[in-house]
């Protein structure tokens, strides 16, 4: 029995505009600048914050360090770090802390200079990692992209999915990116070639990076960051903007196991919990903010979230139903996504931010009368150890 509650809402958001800070700003400064703007967006200030969330990617004891840097005195500190989905986990935990009466105003921040620090993320060597299995794996030279490519290869094998179908994800997000001035600026700053709406032929004709994934199926590596402010119902009703309620959340993990099905993610477990708590179904969702590290990530997650059955994602995405101005499916990554707008390494916070913009009516690819959104983050690697965080958002 669903018991939809409205105990906590996102009341402030900010996406740091620059994707190339040219070494002039550090990640902590991006976090602080974004936090101040998000608090101002909500009509709140530093001293209102009593709960801090940080993905602990910057330093050990990050909950302590970031509180001092911001100059706040939180009584709830959460440094859950599970990769790019950390912010969906944070939103889930903030809802619980607020519901329990432990906090009234929660602050989530992210900042990264992955681009200007020239972090070799996608095609790096994977030597000397920190995961338990790394001493068994690093000899093989599996790039991060190849990890996702192995999911795509198996999906194609099991279900007949094609590169042309996967390309639908890339063309839909680029379609949205071209309407978002910050995304266009990002692609210019990151020296994308031939910046325009793309076709299926463009995507499958682009350079192969790790079979079967082409260049235009891979996300960018940018600088960037952002902040999200979550508040109790009491606080939210006095905030500057329309509250966007957190209606349901789900969290799960998955990792390599003997005999496991590579074509399903931990989202299979997190999504039903979140949808169940919210008391809504995928068919009711207007906006799907789904972590698009690669085309295959979205295809897999659309299935795992229940928009279509496992294996049917390829046929389901055909014909452009994921575009904001088409019917028959949710609008996908209306900011342009990690593929074409913003991916500084951990994209999860932007999923929440753009979902909020849509539910407020502030998106550059606005869906008419958008009422319900899902933000689903995948952290780690889809074809390996990863985490899934699903958050259902709605407005009054």
């Amino acid at each position: 029995m669903a018991t939809q509650s409205r105990d906590a809402a996102i009341v402030g958001v900010y996406e740091y505009p620059s994707r190339d800070v040219e070494g002039k700003v550090n990640p902590l400064q991006i976090k602080a600048a974004s936090a101040a703007k998000a608090l101002a967006d909500a009509g709140l200030t530093w001293s209102d914050v009593d709960a801090i969330y940080d993905a602990s990617e910057g330093a050990p004891m990050s909950g302590l360090m970031i509180s001092e840097y911001f100059g706040i005195k939180p009584s709830v500190i959460d440094t859950t770090g599970v990769g790019g989905s950390s912010y969906e986990f944070h939103a889930a935990h903030a809802l619980r802390a607020i519901r329990d009466g432990k906090a009234k105003v929660a602050l989530l921040t992210y900042g990264s200079t992955a681009h200007s620090s020239a972090m070799a993320i996608g095609a790096g060597g994977r030597g000397g990692g920190i995961a338990p299995g790394d001493n068994m794996e690093s000899f093989a030279g599996q790039t991060l992209i190849a990890n996702y490519a192995m999911v795509a290869r198996r999906h194609m094998h099991d279900y007949g999915t094609t590169s042309e179908q996967l390309a639908e994800i890339s063309t839909a997000t680029r379609y949205h990116a071209m309407r978002n001035p910050e995304a266009v600026q990002a692609m210019n700053d990151l020296e994308f070639l031939n910046i325009r709406e793309t076709t299926i032929e463009d995507v499958v004709g682009s350079r192969m990076i790790a079979d079967p994934l082409h260049l235009l199926e891979c996300c960018m590596v940018s600088d960037g960051g952002g902040a999200v402010v979550i508040a109790s119902a009491d606080v939210a009703k006095n905030c500057a903007k329309t509250p966007v309620w957190i209606l349901g959340t789900g969290e799960a993990t998955k990792y390599p196991q003997n005999g496991a099905d590579l074509t399903s993610s931990a989202g299979v477990e997190s999504a039903p919990v979140a949808f169940g708590e919210a008391g809504v179904t995928p068919a009711e969702i207007d906006i799907a903010m789904i972590y698009d590290s690669f085309s295959i990530t979205v295809l897999t997650l659309l299935e795992d979230l229940g928009f279509c059955a496992k294996g049917e994602g390829g046929a389901w995405v055909e014909g452009g139903r994921l575009r904001f101005d088409q019917s028959g499916g949710p609008a996908l990554n209306t900011d342009g996504g990690g593929l074409s707008s913003n991916h500084p390494g951990m994209r999860g916070i932007f999923l929440l931010i753009e979902a909020v913009r849509q539910l407020r009516g502030e998106s550059s690819s606005q869906v008419n009368d958008a009422k319900l959104a899902v933000a689903h983050g995948n952290g780690g690697m889809l074809g390996g150890r990863h985490s899934a965080g699903t958050v259902i958002l709605g407005r009054d």
Binding site: A120, A123, G124, G125, R126, G127, G128, P132, G133, N135, M136, E137, S138, F139, A140, G141, Q142, T143, I145, A146, N147, A149, M150, V151, R153, R154, H157, R207, M208, I209, A210, D211, P212, L213, P256, Q257, N258, G259, A260, L262, G383
Partner: protein, 142 residues
């Protein structure tokens, strides 16, 4: 001459000192692929570690694989920034299901063209790449 040799990039090598996996890597010197099975609950534990993931009173025993398996999935890497692998593109990485159960990550060797000669479901056998202290378990088609 020694200077020149130092500059040749090498494959990232496993650490023989890593406590969970040291026994596995020491056995590879004799081209043995060891894996663990719990005598109590029969769980096959992969990657190697000191505790059983299937039960809390586990009794892990080392077994030796016959070295035959099937490719579960693969990708052919075209772009790598790693100094060693950069010189190897295009090369195939694969998850291989050994007949005894463990699924491990490796490279597929012994094919003329990885773009056309590697397939899901392909039967493979271990193809050891030998070094002084250990060997790396690659696979080649049967």
């Amino acid at each position: 001459m020694a200077e020149e040799q130092k500059k040749v990039p090498t494959r990232p090598m496993p650490k023989l000192t890593e406590l969970d996996t040291a026994d596995f890597w020491h056995a590879t010197k004799n081209k043995e692929f060891k894996y663990q099975q719990c005598a109590n609950c029969q769980t096959i534990v992969w990657h190697p570690r000191a505790h059983c993931t299937g039960c809390v009173d586990g009794d892990l025993q080392w077994k030796t694989s016959k070295g035959q398996g099937t490719i579960y999935s693969f990708s052919v890497v075209r772009l790598s920034y790693h100094p060693f692998f950069r010189s190897k593109v295009p090369y195939a990485v694969a998850y291989v299901d050994l007949d005894e159960g463990p699924r491990f990550l490796t490279n597929v060797t012994g094919v003329e063209d990885p773009l056309t000669d590697v397939h899901i479901g392909q039967r493979v056998t271990l193809d050891w790449e030998e070094y002084e202290e250990l060997s790396i378990p690659l696979v080649k088609p049967v």
